[in-house]
Each structure stands twice: as C-alpha cells, then as structure tokens.
Subunit: 410 residues, 2 copies
Amino acid sequence: MTTPWAQRYALRTHSMAGSTIRELLKLTQRPDIISFAGGLPAPELLPIDQVKAASDTVLSELGQQALQYSTTEGYPPLREQIVQHMARYGIKVGLDNVLITSGSQQALDLIGKLLINPGDSILTENPTYLGALQAFTAYQAQYVTVPIDDNGLQVGLLEAALRTGPKFMYILPNFQNPAGVTLSVTRRYDLIALAEQYGIPIIEDDPYGQLRYEGEHIKPLVTLDAEYLGCDTHGGYTGNVIYTSTFSKTLAPGLRLGWIVAPEDVIGKLVMMKQGTDLNTSTFDQMVAYEASRDGFIDKHVHTIREVYHHRRDVMLASFEEYFPPEVHWTHPEGGLFLWVTVPESIDTAELLKDALQQKVAFVPGHSFHPNGGGTNTMRLNFSNAGDDMIREGIRRMSVAIKQRLHSTA
Amino acid sequence: MTTPWAQRYALRTHSMAGSTIRELLKLTQRPDIISFAGGLPAPELLPIDQVKAASDTVLSELGQQALQYSTTEGYPPLREQIVQHMARYGIKVGLDNVLITSGSQQALDLIGKLLINPGDSILTENPTYLGALQAFTAYQAQYVTVPIDDNGLQVGLLEAALRTGPKFMYILPNFQNPAGVTLSVTRRYDLIALAEQYGIPIIEDDPYGQLRYEGEHIKPLVTLDAEYLGCDTHGGYTGNVIYTSTFSKTLAPGLRLGWIVAPEDVIGKLVMMKQGTDLNTSTFDQMVAYEASRDGFIDKHVHTIREVYHHRRDVMLASFEEYFPPEVHWTHPEGGLFLWVTVPESIDTAELLKDALQQKVAFVPGHSFHPNGGGTNTMRLNFSNAGDDMIREGIRRMSVAIKQRLHSTA
C-alpha cells in the first residue's frame, strides 16, 4: 500500500493553519538569522544551576517518588505553592481549585476538550494567541472576535458579540500575545459584570502577568470576579473565570509546567480529561520546579528577568524610532515579551517576511493571529530572546526590508 | 453565583466512567492496603542513580537547551534511539516516522484527536485498556468489541465486526492490559491481512513488549505489516499500523515519555495535533532519558526488571494455587504486569472489592475494561509493584474475601 493515509483514511482535516509558527521556529535554528519570531525566554537567564541543585535534591531525597506515576491533579506541594501565589494575586483559593498542567498550552487543550462541541463558537480578542486557536480548532470551534485597542479588548463592543451565544470568552488581559496591550481596570470590571450577566464564562490566560516593567499591577480577572461575586470568602472560588498561567516565563519552558485555577467542580472534570490525555504531568519536573522555586528563589529570579526584558523592550522601541520609516506604527507594552507593529495596508507582512529572511531577520506575520482573517499588514516581534546588539541589527535589517516594500508598492 | 458550572454551563458530559482507576490509585496511597490495583513499576528498581548522573550531565553540558522550548517532534537523538530500537524489532523506519509523546497515554489522545469524529465507532478487544477508552471517549467514540481468549483477539470473529465500519482497530498484542494474553503469530498475520483487505488501520499499543518472561518474542504488528506490504524497503514505513510504546515500564513512568511510529504523513498530522496540545514534551526529561538509557544501560536494566517481575508473576500464580478456591480461574501471561482472574458469575467483583478493602487488599474490578458492559465477575491484579511476602499475604487476604462471597451467594 502506498496511498497516503489522508486519502486512504478519513483523517480529521479541520483547518490547522497554525503551522506558521512551527515552520518559523525551525528558521530560528539557522544561526545566521536574527529571529524575533519565537516567544522564547532569554537562554542566558535560564536558572541552570538552581535546577541542577533541585534535581540532585529531589533524586537524593525522594527519588522513588520522583520517577513514579503520580496523581493527575499534580504534586501537592507545588499546588500549595500555587495557592500561595494566587493569594498574593488577591484571591484565596483552596488546593481543590488548582490543577497542574503540562504547560499552559495543555490548559487550553483541556479547556477545549471540556467545553467545546463541534461548531461551538468561541469569543476571542482580535488578534489573539495562535496556540489557543490551535488548541480550540482541534475541537472544531468557530470564532467570534472583538477588536482590541491600546487598552485591550474593546469591552464596549462586547455585548453584540455575546448576544451571538459564544461558549466562552478567551481573554489575555496582561501584555497580550501578540499585541502587547493590557486590559484597563475599568474594562476588567465591565468584562466580569458582562460575563455574569450573560452567563458566559471567561478563560483568563495570564502567562506574562509577573513580567511588568512599568505601571501598576492590575488585579487579574479571577480576583476581580471573586470580589464582585463575593465568592472568595469561603476559601474556594466558584465564579465565572478559569484562570491559567505557567512556569515557562518565570522558571523554564523546557519543564513544561503550567496550572489552572477554577471552581472545584470544573477542576474535577478537567482532572478526568487530563487523566485520559497524559495521566499526569512529569512527576520529576513538578518536584524539581517546586524545589527550585521555593525559599524565594523565583521572586528573585523574576526580578532579574524583569530588569533584562525591560531593557530589551526599550532597546527595541529605540531601534524602531531610529530605523523605521514614519509610516510604521507600534504598541508600547508595559510588560510581556512582544511588540506589535503595523505597516501601511499596501504591505502584506507574509510577503515582507520573505524579504526579511533575505536580510537574515525573522518575525511572525500578524495574519495568523486573526481567527477570521485580516491583519495582513501587522506583525509580532519578540524582544526577550536577543541581546542589545542583535536587537539593533535585526531592526536595522527589518527596516531595509520594509523600505524596499514601501518603495516597490508606492 | 453559587450554581455549579455543570448546571450553569453546558460542560461536555460524555460518560467518563473511568474514574474507577483514579479513585483506586488513591487507595493505594493508604499504607495499610496491599494494592494490586495499579500498574506501577517496582519502586526499588527505578534507576535513581542513573537518572541523577544523566540529569547532571545534561544540565552541565546542554543546560540552556534542556530548559528551553524544543521542537514538537521530539529531541532528535532520542528519536534516533527509537529508530535503532525499532530496527531491533525488525522494522526499518526513518526519523520522520517517529514522534515523542508525553507518555503513551498522550499517543492515544493524539490518535483520538486525529482520527475520531463524534459518533465514530472504534474496534477494541474485550476487555481492553481502560486508559484507551478514556482517551477515545473524550472524542465521543462508540465501541464495537471482539472477545479475546488465551491467544489474544479472536481474529476468527473479526470480520463481522469490521463490516460494521469501525474507524480503526485498537489492539494490545503483547501481555494485554488487562488480561495478560498474547496474540499468537498466526492471528497476527490474519489480522494485518484483514486490515489491508478492509482498509481499516490498526493502533498497536505495545507498552510491555520488552517484558517477556517465557516463550519466544513475536514480531510486532507494525513489523509484520511492513513485511506483508513490502513497504519497509525504502527506509520509511507507509503501512496500516500506528505503533506506540513507552519508557514508563523500562526506565521510569515519572518522566512521562512514550513514542509513536507511523507513516510519515500521519506523523506530520500528529505533530500538528501535539503542537496545540502541549507544544512539546518536556525537553529536560527527553534529554535525561536519552542520556540515561544510552550505552546499553536500558538493555541491562530491562534484563533486571524481567528477572524480578518474572519471579513476582510466579509468586502470585503460586499464591493463587495455594489460596484460591477451585471455582476461581486465571490467565498465565508470558510477560507484562497483570494477571486476570475470573470468579463465578454469582460474584460481582465491584462488590467483592468492598470486602477486599475490609481485608486491606485492592484490585481493579474487570467491568470497567469492557467498553459495552459485562465482565462483572472478572478482575485485574498487578504483580510488579509488591514484594514476595506482600503478594502472598495480599492473595491470602483476597481468598478470604472471595470465600466469604462464595458462601454468602451459595
């Protein structure tokens, strides 16, 4: 038999356009390319010595446990650490509100598995995180989108979209991927009120919340929701928000560790889903992460990360000012990993990428972050993964490609 | 808001009866219970020192890589190791035929995600692995089953089931979970011929293939299929089988590492599915497993595991002979981790479990391994996780519970 499986057997063919990032990640492995395409932490900041000491401790003291199967819910001390972390974010939750996941990408997959039936509509910001679209589209979701501006989701435009009956809202309130914008506190209050009014839950994806470089911390939606509904007084959260975050930006993405905070009955069902998905997240990695991040290490480490990324963001913004022609515009994120650049509508950034690659520089064209199309003149640039000189040189190279396109389309 | 989510929002409610094993795994944590319920490797055989040395090497030499995101396909040296391993199993595959998964449970999830549309029918052995039912049922699968006997799937009864048009066949040929039986070589040839004839692919789940304690190794279905179709000569497999196995039984389940071998176009689509599911399997764990298992360590280690489990199987079989009343019957597996016990039909093993727990011993009632019901007088016992004295004492306790039931139902 030589017939391809796709012809011979009915493989599910729901559109999975999201191979863009994957193909681009392959480009980042070419040493001559300066890549702003990924969302990778700075490699030189990865806490190798701390993880090494933690691995040794875990294997010496609890080796039999670390190498064995474990409960689907996650390693209890790590879950307790999340409970403490969430308390600092202003919400009192119990152990039964916490599930450890294999990165927050798995959180999105499990949420999709729990909530999405084929054809269900999901409300997202436009643009939104490509990985969420990949997770939800695998369950045959449709999308209804609401545009963002410099203050995040345009909540004033939300009600019309809510009336179409989406299954849930998927929101990135802090330093959004891809656009870098942050949802204002006023809009957060409006958003949680509308969730309650329409009975439509919110998935709050917060991978970058701890990476703020300027401005004041804004409470997460899950905290505001608990306050609004008065449901945090019992030590267990029962509101409208499923919150997810990750160790990937604060400790190390290679360990694939994230978490979900949600009402206890939702966690119970997600545990059942996770059991069929991977039984449990790596016991070893969970125990190593717990051991590595305790005793205040993660706070000190996040402080270092903030300083470095803050500086790199400023270097990239200054390079935009220096090199980009006046027709180019960009966001000014207060944190996170990404800048969002808009070029004149005459330029298709998917085409621009080809020119940029000839100049040995890469980014992600913005189109793929738009669930229902559009955004062909936008692009996402990551500033966490490259040093100052690389950032300046990369932006200089991009400016060459942009100016070429401007002239050829003028 | 205090309404539970399940009432307020339409959570997907496809039956997930499989909480049985999870609840039982919780029982195994009670120190006074002798548990034959899990499928856990012997903790004293877990290669702690080897993993510790490997972790140190990986973090010292390749720390930045180990803690970073990595490609969805898996760590190339580990994939190459799988290519070599499969070659020893008689099938020549290329790197593009191999995908690393977060345990073989994730392999089943990804296969379900790729192949199952709601309402699709899956052909399984009866009984079959509960975790596969959990993985497939999450995609709203139905089941058509074919009974097994001491030589595995009754292939003579297969055609009638194939004519009902299942999406794929899910088969555990070696030391099946739960029943411990092995598919004979004659039946394997018949099975792959029928797969080709009916155009219905086979998912071959082979977690225990290396754990054979007596008899001759039988080639896996994927190898026989490649030989039958003559498609292994090009160094890339293009046949009807998706093969999956795991490091959980040969190295350590706590690392959550498995793999899939399949035609290249199937791997390509599974990679897209995996990207939306967890981006990549723990980079650190993949590199540690590669480092720990190289230079022949895993072969030596598997040799040790075989000796210990062989002995424990014999101890449990001897204990059955010594303690169980003549009305009780059981399988004689040539490998793996499980024995399958049948009691008179008057006894419901779910009820028996309650008596057994009073006697401080646990097993898994067989009913939950039957996709469409039945098997209420069967049960699965694991022999890998307890030492000799515990096995003997546990079976003695079980015999007390069984004899009580026999007398009360007589």
